[in-house]
């Protein structure tokens, strides 16, 4: 286990340690906010009676009633469109899109409506919604259960995009997202719902219960959107990642004994540019890691920002380790996934520069 830099869960651990996986942390955030604010409603495909295909909404309908937690028709456009209307009324909907791969039918409502509503009405109407959606690969999900479409949303003015990497963050960030008055896309890396994944798919998975960031305090706390988390401090290079890839990058650096400073972005937009700048100026080297395809992925934006803002501190080219520019394959998942070999090779190149 690398250096502890997160104090909040540690403090909580002393007051009776309670460890949750990411699903439980998300469920708890929803339950807690729904209990606190009667204007919050949860809707989506299979989220009601059944409690969600990933159990994220389990028990919520029974506790909060059918008019606040309910199943919807299979229509992502309808789900997001209805949520925009509910927001205009004054509710704070938290719709679920079952897989990020299926968010596209709702894109017009997200891009043309939710994202632009405050701007085009000059604050007359807002869309204070949080769209939760499982995302990312590493689960043999094939083409339509593995995608990472965060770059599409990062490109849309008016949307915020959040991706947690730990149970502690999942709860705190989801609470902050629900409380935020702007529309938030909340992507949940489903590969790490039940346990952190290191990318070493041929080795046993360690459960969340053994991870420092699975200590989740009871009650309310929130993590501000737009603030990155320094996973570990280091001197050799800066690794920027989010979601599952935080754990993969961390494991590879540990395996290779690299003294990396690892930044978990947590929020894609707005971005914690200060954390990135400070770190790269210190280390002089930068590796960006994401699962999404490479071309015009969010890594391109990160690479451009680092180059623009840290150019005179850079001692090596900024590198990107990403998924390949292909649809997500089924049988060749581990050849596609940006795992330890791809990251290791990039680390070697950068450190030798």
């Amino acid at each position: 286990m690398s250096t502890e830099t997160q104090n909040a869960p540690e403090a909580a651990a002393e007051n009776g340690e309670r460890r949750l996986n990411m699903i439980e942390a998300i469920n708890e955030a929803l339950d807690l906010k729904m209990s606190e604010d009667p204007d919050i409603i949860v809707m989506g495909e299979d989220v009601g009676y059944f409690g969600g295909v990933f159990r994220a909404t389990a028990g919520l309908q029974e506790k909060h009633g059918k008019s606040r937690v309910f199943d919807t028709p299979i229509s992502e456009c309808g789900i997001i469109g209805a949520a925009v209307g509910m927001g205009a009324y004054g509710l704070r909907p938290v719709p679920e899109i079952q897989f990020a791969d299926y968010i596209y039918p709702g894109l017009d409502q997200l891009i043309s409506e939710a994202a632009r509503l405050r701007y085009r009405s000059a604050n007359d109407y807002i869309a204070p919604m949080t769209v939760r959606s499982p995302f990312g690969g590493g689960i043999f999900g094939g083409q339509t259960h593995s995608q990472s479409p965060e770059a599409l949303f990062a490109h849309v003015a008016g949307l915020k995009t959040v991706i947690p990497a730990t149970p502690y963050d999942a709860k705190g960030l989801l609470i902050a997202a629900i409380e935020d008055n702007d529309p938030v896309i909340f992507f949940e890396p489903k590969r790490i719902y039940n346990a952190p994944f290191t990318g070493y798919y041929d080795k046993p998975v360690e459960p969340w219960k053994k991870h420092r960031d699975s200590v989740v305090p009871e009650g309310k706390y929130s993590i501000p959107l737009g603030k990155a988390r320094i996973v570990q401090e280091g001197e050799a290079l800066t690794v920027i990642a989010y979601g599952t890839m935080v754990h993969v990058a961390e494991a590879v650096c540990r395996e290779k004994g690299v003294d990396a400073e690892i930044i978990d972005l947590r929020t894609i937009v707005p971005l914690d540019i200060e954390a990135i700048e400070a770190s790269v100026k210190k280390t002089g080297k930068c590796l960006i890691v994401h699962e999404a395809t490479r071309t015009a992925g969010f890594g391109a934006e990160l690479s451009a920002l680092v180059t623009e803002r840290c150019f005179y501190h850079l001692e090596a080219p900024v590198e990107r380790v990403t998924g390949f520019d292909t649809p997500y394959p089924h049988s060749l998942e581990w050849a596609y996934f940006p795992g330890p070999v791809r990251i290791g090779e990039a680390l070697d190149r950068i450190l030798e520069a």
Binding site: T72, G78, G81, Y89, E113, D124, P270
Partner: protein
């Protein structure tokens, strides 16, 4: 037959050739027009079921045409809303105002005072008469051709013109294309350029009202062309599934820019009939009959308020003018269509009805038209003090960056600083943010 498997090619050789049907409107520019194929039933002959009836009981009405005002200018039958003369005169006054407004704004665009305008000529009843049947705090999710609703709700026309001119008085800060109004105060939702997106939003608003145990309902307007969008299907599905207190108004004005309604599916069924497949109540009404529009909207509103469910209303009407100031309809339809349109003009029909009742005359009509024209003219002058498009009087430049988010994130702060520098270079010594 490039994609046909080779061994199957022989098998298909003796079968008749298939052919693609591409709809074609009956009349093109220059054609003489005869609307005999449009069935116009006599006024007053349509049954009026109870508002709380099962949706299926509206089946016949989905293929009929609810009409109240007959050729004799009298109100007939069970749909007669029995409005008092004052209400009818108020309605006629809103008609006159929106017509005067459209006329002046269209001219304003031609004079270069703004970039764009859209008239609603011929469709005044579908917005004004409908809005008058709703409560003032029922929520409206309009498309872009319902300016009549704002006028019926008393939204100041100076504010409408400020928006059209994108001037410094524009409440939307010059961000929106002209006519894309928004007024929370008047329960009028922000208009979007993306078609039909407002339909599931209206359903969501109505669901929210039901979730909170409120008594308000929602109503949305969409053109027949836009019913082909997926959002409309989502809206109908959600409306039925949750029994949402919502009215879906489909304005079938026969034309979606240059495409006749056949391209939205009108050749083989009515738009009202779509309601039946979803389990919605459906009404098909004479959209140029102000009394029929009022009565149908009131019926649907009462139904929604009684928790009896949503309604889809097809307003059968005609877009008398071009689609917008950027459109010339003489390029795709016969100019004679407007004259021959069998349902007439909604303003004339209401006027004649009031005259028939002995509650109005041509002199008062002429005086009212003149008064409206003068009022719009005065409002235009008032708005012009705030500037016209492109003449420098607009909201300060920094407002461009506001309201993207609730607060300005760092990247917008940086971009705002860039915009400020650009202005300092171009106009040194002047206040860069003005």
């Amino acid at each position: 037959m490039a994609d046909r498997p080779e061994q199957a090619a022989g098998k298909g050789a003796n079968k008749p050739s298939l052919s693609l049907h591409v709809p074609e409107p009956t009349y093109r520019p220059g054609d003489p027009v005869d609307f005999a194929h449009i069935t116009v039933p006599a006024a007053g002959k349509q049954a009026r079921p109870d508002e709380t009836c099962d949706a299926i009981e509206t089946s016949d009405l989905c293929y009929d045409l609810v009409r109240v005002l007959g050729d004799d200018n009298k109100a007939h039958g069970p749909w007669d809303p029995k409005l008092d003369p004052d209400t009818l005169r108020t309605m006629l006054g809103h008609f006159a105002m929106v017509r005067a407004f459209d006329e002046r704004m269209f001219r304003g665009q031609r004079q270069g005072k703004t970039s764009f305008y859209m008239k609603c000529t011929g469709e005044e009843a579908t917005s004004i008469s409908a809005a008058m049947a709703l409560a003032s705090d029922d929520m409206i999710f309009p498309s872009y051709r319902q300016q009549g609703i704002l006028i019926a709700r008393g939204y100041p026309i100076v504010e409408m013109i400020n928006q059209i001119y994108s001037n410094k008085g524009d409440k939307l800060k010059g961000r929106q294309l002209p006519i894309m109004y928004s007024s929370r105060e008047h329960s009028f939702f922000s208009i979007s350029g993306n078609l039909a997106t407002q339909t599931p939003q209206a359903v969501g608003w109505a669901m929210a009202s039901a979730i909170k145990g409120d008594s308000r309902i929602a109503a949305t307007w969409v053109g027949e062309g836009s019913t082909a969008e997926g959002d409309f299907h989502s809206a109908c599905t959600f409306a039925t599934v949750y029994n949402a207190p919502v009215i879906l108004n489909v304005i079938n004005n026969q034309w979606a820019i240059s495409s006749f309604s056949g391209f939205a599916g009108a050749e083989r069924t009515t738009f009202a009939a779509r309601a039946l497949g979803y389990g919605l109540a459906g009404l098909r009404i004479d959209g140029n009959d102000p009394l029929a529009v009022y009565a149908a909207e009131k019926w649907a509103a009462d139904r929604a308020r009684a928790n009896a469910g949503p309604t889809l209303i097809e307003h059968f009407t005609y877009r008398a003018e071009g689609h917008s100031t950027s459109d010339d309809p003489s390029g795709y339809r016969s100019a004679q269509e407007r004259e021959e349109w069998p349902l007439g003009d909604p303003v004339t029909r209401l006027k004649n009805h009031l005259i028939e009742l002995g509650e109005w005359d041509e002199e008062r009509q002429a005086a009212m038209d003149l008064k409206c024209a003068e009022e719009v003219k005065a409002a235009t002058k008032e708005a012009e003090k705030n500037g016209i498009l492109g003449h420098g009087l607009h909201h300060p430049f920094r407002t461009m960056f506001q309201d993207v988010y609730e607060d300005l994130p760092w990247h917008l702060e940086e971009q705002a600083a860039q915009a400020k520098r650009e202005r300092e270079i171009k106009w040194p010594g002047e206040e860069p943010w003005s």
